[in-house]
Amino acid sequence: MRTAQTGARAVALAASLLAAAPAAADLSVSGFLQQNTAVNTAGANPDGRDYKWQEERAQLKLEATGGAWRGYFKGDGYYDNLDRNGGGDVREAYVDYTGSAFDLQVGRQVITWGLGDLVFVNDVFPMDYEALFVGRPLEYLKRGVDAVKLGAYSKLANFELVLEPKFRESRIPDANRFHLYDPMPTVSNRETVKPSQGDVGLRIYRDIAGYDAALYLYRGFQRTPSMRPDSLTAPTKITYFYPQLSTYGASLSGQVGVGVLSLEAAYYDSRQDRSGTDFAVPNSQTRLLVAYQLQPWEDFTLNLQYYEERMQDYGAYLASLPPGFPVEKRWNPTVGLRATQFYRHQTLRVSLYASYDTSNDDRFINPELRYSFTDRVWGAVGVNIFGGKPWGQFGQLVHDDNLYVQVRYEF
C-alpha cells in the first residue's frame, strides 16, 4: 500500500513537472501493458505456491524536452496475483541538462557500468536478482538509483561522476518464493540495517587507439546484505547489514580478429574488514572478466565469457569461519556463453545463456524464445534452470527452476 501511495505521489509529481514545462517543450508519451507468469517446474515454493510470479503490469513513459532541458518519467503500476497485491514503482524519474562540455542528470536513474553479461565486475549499482531468477524482462534486472550524475567531456577524457545521497540496495529473491540457503534457520528474530550514508562512483573513459578504455572508482557499500548473528553458539537474533566497500577497476574493449574482445578487472576493497578476519564480512577480492563476441554467420551472435573471483585473504577467511558454515574456494573461475539466433526477419529470437562455476559446480541455464507477433505485441517463453551446491549462488535455487512467459503490448 505504501508503495502504491509513493507511486501515485510520484506520478502526480511527474505530471505537475510536465505541466510546468515550457509550452514549447515537446512531449512524448509511450508505454506498455504486460503479463508475466513464472510457474515452478521443480517443486513448490517455501510458501507452498506453484508460481514464482504472476503479475499484470502497465508502464507509462513520459518525456518532455525544451532546449537543453529534458524531463523523463518511467513509472509502473502492477498487480501481483500471488501475495503482494497492487502497487506502483517509479522506475526512472529525472531532469537533465545538456551543456556543450558537460551534462547533469538529477533524479532516479539507471546506471550500468562494465562489460559483463550477467556478471558484474565494475557494475556496482543495484540489481534485482529476483527479476532475473523469475524470468522478468531484461530491463527489470537493474534498479534505478536516486542520484546526481555529472558528465564532463574533454579531449583528454570523459568523466561520469555519480553521487547517491541515500544508498539503495539490490533486491534479493523473496524467501517465501525461493529456497534460499540459511545457515541458522531456527533464528526467527531478524532485522536489516541499511547504511545511513550514500555512495559515490566515478567513471573515466576515452578511446585509446580504437579501443574503448575506462577506469572505475567506487566508494560505498556492498549491495547485497551480509548476516551477523548475536551469538555463534546460541544465536537469538540475526542482523543483516551492508558492509563498506570500495572498488577500483578498469576495462578495455575493441575489435580483435573477427570479433570484439572485452577485458575487465576490479579490486574489491572490503573496507569494513581489510584483514579478512571477520567471517560476516566478505573478504576483499579481485574480479576478472575476459569475453569474446563474434558473429559466425548471419543473424547469429555468440558471446563467450570467462569470469573469476579470487579472495584476497584466504588464510584469514578459513581461520575465522565458524564451524558448520560452508567453506568457499579461494578461486572461483566461471565460464559462460550467450548464443543468439534470429529468424524470420529478426522477429523470432532463440537464445541461450549458460554459466558454470568450475570451483563449486554452480550453474545457471536460461534458454528463451521470443517472437514479435506484430510491431506492437511480443511474447517470450523461457526456462530458468539452477544447479550446484546447496549454498552456492545458483545451487541453493535447485528447487526453484521455473518456466516463464512474458507478453507485452506496447503503445
Binding site: D26, S30, F32, T65, R70, D96, T98, D103, Q109, V110, I111, T112, L115, P137, L138, E139, L141, K142, G151, Y153, N158, Y205, G210, D212, S253, G254, Q255, V258, G259, V260, S262, Q293, L294, Q295, W297, E298, D299, T301, F342, H345, Q346, T347, S372, T374, D375, R376, W378, R408, E410, F411
Partner: protein, 264 residues
C-alpha cells in the same frame, strides 16, 4: 620532329575518347561517390517497410545521420536512432566505417542504459531484419569485386552502364550482380543480384530520385528477394545535406542521449 608532332596530334585526338571510356571499376567508384558520399554530411528520417509475401507489413523508422571523414571511398561515421517498432524505441546505433577493415559498431540499449560494442564481421547480414544488408546501406568495398561494363542500355528514359560485379572471394552471399548506373548522375537505378547458381536472387530499384541541395538523391527505393517474395521499401523523409554535424555527435555520450536537433 614531324613524327613526334603526328604522335602528339594522335594522342590529343584520342584523349577525349579515353576520358569517356570509363572502366567498370571507375563507373562503380563514381556510383559509390554519388550514392553514398554526397555532401559533407547527410541526415534523413528513414521509413522502412518490411513486406512479407502475403502482404504483412512491419515498420522500422529511424533517423539516419552520416558524416564523411574523408573523400569518396574513405572513412565514414553513421548514427541511427530508432523510433519504431516500440520495443526498440530510443535505441541508437553507431558505425565507424573504414575502407579496408571491419567497421566498429556500437549499440545503446535503453532498457538497461548500456552502451555495448557489437561484433560486425559479416557485412552481408541483414540490416534490422530487412532485405537490405549492411553493405546495401553503407556500401561495399569496390576492391572486393571485379567490375566489367557488360553493355550500355536505356532504363526507362535514362542512359545507363550495366556493370557486372563478381566477388573476388567466395565469402559473399551472391555469385555476381548487375548494376544499372545512370550515365549522367551515376546513381544506381537498378541492381540484380544472382545467387551462386546463377539464379536471380535479389532486386534493387531506385523508385524516386529528387535533387536536394544540388545532389541527386534516391529518396525511395525497394529491395525485393526474388526467391522468397519478401521485400523492403525505404523512403527518406526530410533528407538534407551539409548541416554541419559535429564529429562529437558520434560518441558514447550522444549515443546514450542523442541531441533532439539531430534526431527529430
Amino acid at each position: 620532329m614531324k613524327r613526334w608532332l603526328t604522335l602528339a596530334a594522335l594522342v590529343a585526338l584520342l584523349l577525349p575518347l579515353c576520358a569517356w571510356a570509363l572502366s567498370g571499376e571507375e563507373v562503380m567508384q563514381k556510383s559509390q561517390a554519388a550514392f553514398l558520399y554526397p555532401g559533407k554530411d547527410f541526415k534523413a528520417r528513414v521509413l522502412m517497410k518490411l513486406i512479407s509475401k502475403d502482404g504483412q507489413v512491419r515498420v522500422r523508422e529511424m533517423t539516419l545521420l552520416r558524416k564523411n571523414m574523408a573523400g569518396p571511398g574513405g572513412e565514414q561515421k553513421y548514427f541511427m536512432y530508432f523510433f519504431q517498432p516500440a520495443d526498440v524505441k530510443d535505441m541508437s546505433f553507431m558505425i565507424y566505417k573504414y575502407p579496408a577493415k571491419n567497421a566498429d559498431r556500437w549499440m545503446f540499449i535503453p532498457a538497461i542504459n548500456m552502451v555495448k560494442r557489437i561484433a560486425a564481421q559479416d557485412n552481408r547480414s541483414s540490416f534490422v531484419g530487412s532485405d537490405f544488408t549492411y553493405e546495401d546501406v553503407s556500401g561495399r568495398n569496390i576492391e572486393d569485386d571485379s567490375h566489367v561494363i557488360e553493355r550500355e542500355e536505356k532504363l526507362g528514359n535514362r542512359d545507363c552502364y550495366v556493370v557486372k560485379s563478381t566477388p573476388k572471394n567466395g565469402d559473399a552471399d551472391f555469385g555476381y550482380k548487375l548494376t544499372w548506373v545512370d550515365k549522367v548522375n551515376f546513381l544506381p537505378l537498378k541492381e540484380i543480384q544472382y545467387d551462386k547458381k546463377g539464379a536471380p536472387y535479389k532486386q534493387y530499384s531506385a523508385d524516386e530520385i529528387s535533387e536536394i541541395k544540388g545532389f541527386p538523391t534516391v529518396i525511395k527505393r525497394t529491395m525485393k528477394n526474388l526467391q522468397t517474395g519478401h521485400s523492403t521499401s525505404v523512403v527518406y523523409l526530410k533528407a538534407d545535406y551539409n548541416l554541419g554535424i559535429e564529429d562529437s555527435l558520434f560518441s558514447e555520450r550522444f549515443l546514450r542521449q542523442p541531441p533532439r536537433k539531430w534526431i527529430d
